[in-house]
């Protein structure tokens, strides 16, 4: 089974929670992944951010669920890096 190693998401989120709390909460939820967040645009109530997640085996559903739980919305998956899984003999 292929393993997801790196994804870049375009996310629309409210101002709260702020970037540090948002990225921290996502990293805490995923456990063994690093998270990088960059703010692209900001308006009165929302901000568009790019979220990069890197790890040995990223649970994509867990990523989107946690983003949704924090009020964010994944608009697109801009980059994906997948490793082929090792077949068990």
């Amino acid at each position: 089974m292929a393993r997801l190693r790196y994804i870049v998401l375009d996310v629309l989120k409210p101002h709260q929670p702020g970037g540090v709390e948002f990225a921290g909460a996502l990293a805490d939820h995923l456990g063994d992944c690093s998270v990088r967040l960059e703010v692209e645009e900001r308006d009165e109530k929302t901000e568009s951010v790019t979220v990069e997640v890197a790890g040995p085996d990223i649970d994509f559903d867990a990523v989107t669920a946690r983003i949704n739980e924090m009020g964010g919305s994944v608009h697109s998956v801009d980059e994906v890096e997948v490793d082929p899984g090792v077949e068990e003999s």
Binding site: L12, P14, Q16, P17, E44, K45, T46, E69, M70, G71
Partner: protein, 194 residues
């Protein structure tokens, strides 16, 4: 601790920390002044029974508590619903009902209403405690009504000090200001004797 952290988080999401603090002081102050007025009124009559005074004060405390709880819940729930709808529109119509923002919109009004209702109710209970003590046979050095008025005055001073600390002004001056309000209220009621 998890509940406390979650409450802080929801208050932060909805920018409601200041509102809850304001309600605590405003309604606590209301409760203290209302009870001060009641007990001073009973003191001025000269022959009010403790049972009548306690019943009237408890009625007032309950009314203040229910009023604070219900009015704050209705207004805060409406405000949070409005803010959530506005945020959902800004999020291109995405529903936020199942997110932290949705939960905060439902729970923050309960928290704020609790503060708004409990502040005057607990304040009133503390003020009429000397009346209860006298009713149960505890001998007080002076009239239970004066003791209750003294408790009300102290609590008003406390609310003033709290406001001073929160606003970064000199706490003693802030406490003295509310003490003056308590003294003026008691003075006006004492005039009823004449």
């Amino acid at each position: 601790m998890k509940l406390l952290d979650q409450t802080r988080h929801f208050l932060s999401l909805t920018h409601s920390q200041g509102i809850a603090r304001r309600y605590f002081v405003v309604n606590g102050f209301d409760g203290a002044l209302a009870m001060l007025g009641l007990v001073m009124g009973f003191y001025v009559t000269g022959d009010a029974s403790l049972e009548v005074a306690i019943t009237a004060c408890m009625g007032g405390a309950i009314a203040l508590g229910v009023s604070g709880l219900s009015s704050a819940y209705i207004s805060e729930a409406a405000e949070r619903r409005r803010d959530l709808r506005s945020l959902e529109e800004a999020m291109a119509g995405e529903s936020l009902q199942n997110s932290s923002h949705g939960r905060a919109a439902r729970l923050v009004p309960v928290y704020v209403a609790s503060v708004n209702g409990l502040a005057p109710f607990v304040t009133a209970l503390l003020i009429i405690a000397p009346l209860w003590m006298a009713r149960w046979g505890v001998v007080l050095p002076f009239s239970p009504f004066l003791a209750a008025a003294g408790t009300a005055t102290f609590l008003l001073f406390f609310y003033g000090v709290y406001l001073g600390v929160v606003s970064g002004t000199f706490w003693l001056w802030s406490g003295v200001r509310t003490l003056f309000i308590a003294a003026a209220t008691a003075g006006l009621i004492l005039l009823l004797r004449f």
